[in-house]
Assembly symmetry: C2
Homo-oligomer: 193 residues x 2
C-alpha cells in the first residue's frame, strides 16, 4: 500500500501542475500552497525549481502564446484564399485550445495585473490583429460578409472559441474534433454572406 514512487519534478512537470491549478482557481485565487499540495510537495520545494509564482505564470503563458503564434506560421495560414486561410486558423486555434487547455485557460483570463500579464496581453493583441487583417482580406475577396467590422468579427469568433476552456473537458463524452467542427460551423457559418 506504499505511495507510488513519483518521478522527481523538473521545471516543465511542475509547470504542468501549476498551470492546472491556476486554471482551476484562477491565478490570483490560487496560492503557492495550493500548487504545492497539488504537486504533492512542499511550497518551499517549488522554489528549488522556479524563482516564484509569477515565473510559473510566465511559463504557462509562454506555452500558450507560442502555440498560437505557431499556427500563423503554418502553410494553411499563408497559402490559398483568405477565406480558407481564416478557416484554417480558426480550426487550428480550437484544436490547440483543447490540446493546451489549462495554459490557454489561464491566458484567456489574465487581466494585466502585472508586467508578465501585460506582456502576454500585448502578444495576444498582436495575434488578434493578424487575424483581423485576415478577416478583412476575406471580406475583400467576398468570402465573408462585409457588414461587420473585422476587429469585431475577430473578437466574436475567438470569444466563441476561447469560451470552450470554461466548460470543455476531455472526458470522452465530447470529442475535440466534433467541437472544433461545431465552432467552425457556427462561427464561420455566421460570417458567410
Amino acid at each position: 500500500m506504499r505511495a507510488e514512487a513519483r518521478k522527481p519534478y523538473d521545471i516543465e512537470s511542475l509547470t504542468n501542475v501549476a498551470v492546472r491549478v491556476f486554471a482551476e482557481r484562477g491565478y490570483d485565487g490560487a496560492s503557492m500552497d495550493d500548487v504545492a499540495r497539488a504537486a504533492g510537495i512542499t511550497k518551499a520545494s517549488i522554489y528549488h525549481h522556479v524563482t516564484g509564482k509569477e515565473a510559473l505564470l510566465g511559463r504557462g503563458l509562454r506555452r500558450a502564446l507560442d502555440a498560437l503564434s505557431a499556427i500563423l506560421e503554418e502553410p494553411g495560414s499563408n497559402r490559398g484564399r483568405a477565406g480558407a486561410r481564416l478557416e484554417h486558423v480558426v480550426r487550428r486555434v480550437a484544436e490547440v485550445t483543447f490540446d493546451l487547455l489549462p495554459e490557454l485557460s489561464v491566458l484567456f483570463r489574465i487581466r494585466g495585473n502585472s508586467p508578465t500579464e501585460l506582456e502576454a496581453l500585448a502578444h495576444r493583441r498582436r495575434f488578434d490583429r493578424t487575424v483581423a487583417s485576415l478577416v478583412r482580406q476575406a471580406q475583400n475577396e467576398g468570402s465573408v460578409r462585409s457588414d461587420i467590422d473585422p476587429g469585431v468579427a475577430t473578437r466574436l469568433i475567438f470569444g466563441m472559441s476561447n469560451s470552450t476552456v470554461e466548460w470543455f473537458r476531455a472526458d470522452g463524452r465530447s470529442s475535440p474534433g466534433e467541437l472544433a467542427d461545431a465552432i467552425c460551423k457556427v462561427a464561420l457559418g455566421g460570417l458567410k454572406i
Copy 2:
C-alpha cells in the same frame, strides 16, 4: 478649489464601485483597499455599509443573475415560435450585458471558489439549461440546424456574447445596438439551416 462634496455612500452606490473594481482586477486580484481607494473612503468605512468582501461580490452577482432571469420572463421569450424566442433571448442578453457591464463581467469570470460563487454558478447553469431547451425546440421546429448538440450550441452562443465584456467599452465608438446586431447575425446566422 475645495473638493467637490460627494454624496454619502449607501450599499447600492458602494456596490457600484466595488463591482467596477472587481471587473477590472478580478475578484481575487482586487483588495478591499483597492475598493476603498476607488471609492475615496477608508477600508474600515466599507464595513459600515456591508458585512464583507464576499457580500459585495454577492450583491454584484445577484444584480447580474436577476437581470438575466428577468429576460426569461419577458413576453418575447415565451410567445411565438422557438426560433424567434431564441433570437429575442440572445439579443436581450447582449443588451443586458452592455447595460450591466461590470456585474456581468464579474459573473462570467467566477470559478466557484466560495459558497457565494458556487451558488451563482448553479443559478447560471439553470439559465443555460433553459436556453438549451429553447434551442432544442428550435431544432425540432426546423429553424435551427440539428447537427449540433443544443447544450453545445447554447454554450457557443453565450461564449460569443459573453466575451464582449472583455473588450466592449461604452465609449461611443461602437454602439451597443450595432454590437448586439452583430452578435445575432453571427451566432444565430451560424445556427441557421
